[in-house]
Amino acid sequence: MVSMKKLVKKNNQIKVPSDLDYLAEVDKFVEQKLKKTTLNKSQLADIAISVTEAVTNAMLHGNKKDPHKEVTIDVEVKPKEIVITIQDQGNGFDPDKVPNPTQGDLIKVAGRGVFIYKTLMDKVEFFIKPHQGTTVKMVKEIKPETK
């Protein structure tokens, strides 16, 4: 029998089960990794928000909250940019088919995650292999602003 997944941290990577209870741990991990950068409060918040959006989607839509599937988050601090990848074990999705939440019914409760992180991050790429999971790669440039 495949055992339920647990939280695993190793170097710049954290793996969590597909359970929203682990969002706070992911946030804490990312915050810790970015502590020594020169990103200002607003930039740090943009990254934190974007990561939680992508991880939530990975858990709910990618892995369908399957406790046997995990979400892997990698945080890479480069001299001029932060690169974060979020990978699930789901069936993939078409990011071009995600509706724009600013059109139509504004008071729907969900559906803003992808739009928000595409807006807050400087670059977002999707790597999708049908039935082999989705990887979202998001980049935030470290601009020469003081904290």
């Binding site: 929203l20 209870d21 682990y22 969002l23 706070a24 946030d27 607003s42 918040a45 934190a48 928000i49 939680t52 959006e53 939530t56 939440p101 600013t102 504004l106 008071i107 729907k108 409760v109 969900a110 559906g111 803003r112 995650g113 739009f115 928000i116 807006t119």
Partner: protein
């Protein structure tokens, strides 16, 4: 996220503190809206001064609260919206949905 509340002139002021990102803490705020309506408390202000940031789940909880109150002839308003949350409301066009005030006092005064 922690949640406290107080009442001023018949208006309930909810004071979440921390980050609203989803998970068990966020259901606290979501459930509070329903509980208050059950208690016939239908004038609600969410004071966001101590919310570091929220993501779309947090926005969804506020929208759900707004809808719940409206469906029960109540009102939900926001106060002390921080810059980060204000920018989120702007980019998602939710600035047109929520009534916001610069202070709790102004928000309280706006209830008829």
């Amino acid at each position: 996220m922690k949640l406290s509340s107080r009442e001023v002139k018949g208006v309930i002021i909810l004071e979440p503190k921390g980050k609203i990102m989803g998970g068990p803490d966020s259901t606290l705020l979501h459930d509070q809206f329903h509980d208050l309506v059950q208690q016939n408390k239908k004038k609600i202000i969410v004071d966001l001064s101590k919310v570091e940031w929220m993501n779309s789940t947090g926005l969804g909880i506020l929208i759900s609260g707004l809808t719940t109150l409206k469906n029960n002839q109540g009102e939900l308003k926001l106060a002390n919206v921080t810059d980060k949350i204000q920018s989120l409301l702007a980019i998602t066009k939710l600035v047109t949905v929520f009534e916001s005030f610069d202070s709790v006092d102004e928000a309280v005064a706006s209830f008829k």
